[in-house]
């Protein structure tokens, strides 16, 4: 995938209501045809187990029968790969692909340093995934997939995630800090 600088205009995004509604339809079809619920946390659990085997058994080659079952790719692993493929496909079809290492909002607030973004991205991801593993799910697995089956878990989880995010966002980006909120695409 190369940069397409000769076509500066990318397609405008779809309405979030349309794309969200289609996502709701997709997860219903997924429940019907694949008997699965959307979620990516099991993918991270699976990767963690693979890394555990690498560390404790000094390589996947030494894995025993149990280890081979553990590291066998599952539905959630291909689901996660599918998200990358689908997003890349959409970006390519709608001329929306863009190499970017420092997001616009971050750049306006914290400067263009790639290293700074790397360090804080790593720390943020570290904290976020610790929380996700603790809560048994991410916004899609716990929040969205919980809400669609009208489970209290989805609503509680989504509210807690949103609350934590709003608190940290108000610390990092206090009112009046000079950033434009509406992210330019």
């Amino acid at each position: 995938m190369e940069r397409r600088q000769e076509q500066p205009r990318s397609a405008p995004p779809w309405s979030p209501y349309l794309a969200g509604g289609l996502t709701g339809l997709a997860l219903t079809l997924c429940a019907f045809f694949a008997d699965r619920q959307f979620g990516v946390t099991p993918f991270y659990s699976w990767l963690t187990k693979c890394c555990g085997l690498l560390i404790y058994q000094r390589g996947l080659r030494a894995a025993d029968e149990f280890g081979r079952l553990v590291i066998k790719p599952n539905w959630f692993a291909t689901f996660a790969v599918g998200i990358i493929v689908g997003a890349a496909l959409a970006a390519w079809l709608f001329n929306d692909f863009k190499w970017q290492g420092v997001p616009d909002t971050w750049r306006k607030r914290f400067g263009p340093s790639v290293v700074k973004r790397m360090v804080w991205g790593f720390i943020g991801g570290f904290i976020a995934l610790m929380g996700v593993r603790m809560a048994f799910g991410c916004p899609s697995g716990l929040g969205l997939s919980g809400m669609v089956v009208l489970s209290a878990s989805g609503f509680i989880g989504f509210a807690a995630m949103f609350l934590g995010g709003v608190i940290m966002a108000s610390i990092l980006y206090p009112p009046g800090c000079d950033t434009r909120g509406r992210g330019e695409s």
């Binding site: 429940a31 996660a80 995934l129 048994f136 089956v149 934590g164 995010g165």
Partner: protein
Amino acid sequence: MNPEMLEHNAAGSSIYAMELLSGLVFGAIFGFLLQRAHVLRFDKQLGMLRFKDMTVMKFMLSAALVGAIGMTALEQLYLVNWESRFVVLLPFILGGMLFGLGWAICGYCPGTLLGAMGEGRWDAGWVFLGGLAGSIFYANLVNPYIGDFLVSWGTYREGIDLDTALGVSPWLVIAGFAAICLSLFWWLEKRGV
């Protein structure tokens, strides 16, 4: 995953292949729609957390509303049969808030960072590496010590569904949820965020 799927016979491996393929297809549909709504982006995610651009909230609640209607219809037609999701209050609240704190720092969810890498936002790669390290750290060095404590209180293993908890039809819950979502959408559009 069912144990029989892991057996190395012809039928088992073809079921297994279909399983993996269906994951790829539905993941791709999800990633495609996430990209088309631009909700993968750091700027949109932080926009929601700062109440400046609620695109992600609109996307999420639209998906939840349509999905709830579809799932309830499937359940009422006996086309799917799932156990209720367990509720563990302490992990959901503490873990959810811990996730939120990290989310506002890194600007990606575990799922959207994968899609963000797909559309060229390569800083999501750092978040992915940090997330993997955090997941390994939590599973090996945190969960063994506090895992039992976290589920010692507020644990409902049999699950809580809003319709059975309230003793009403699931369609009534959906109607209430729809009323909340639609009025929120109307208010957000009026404010122009």
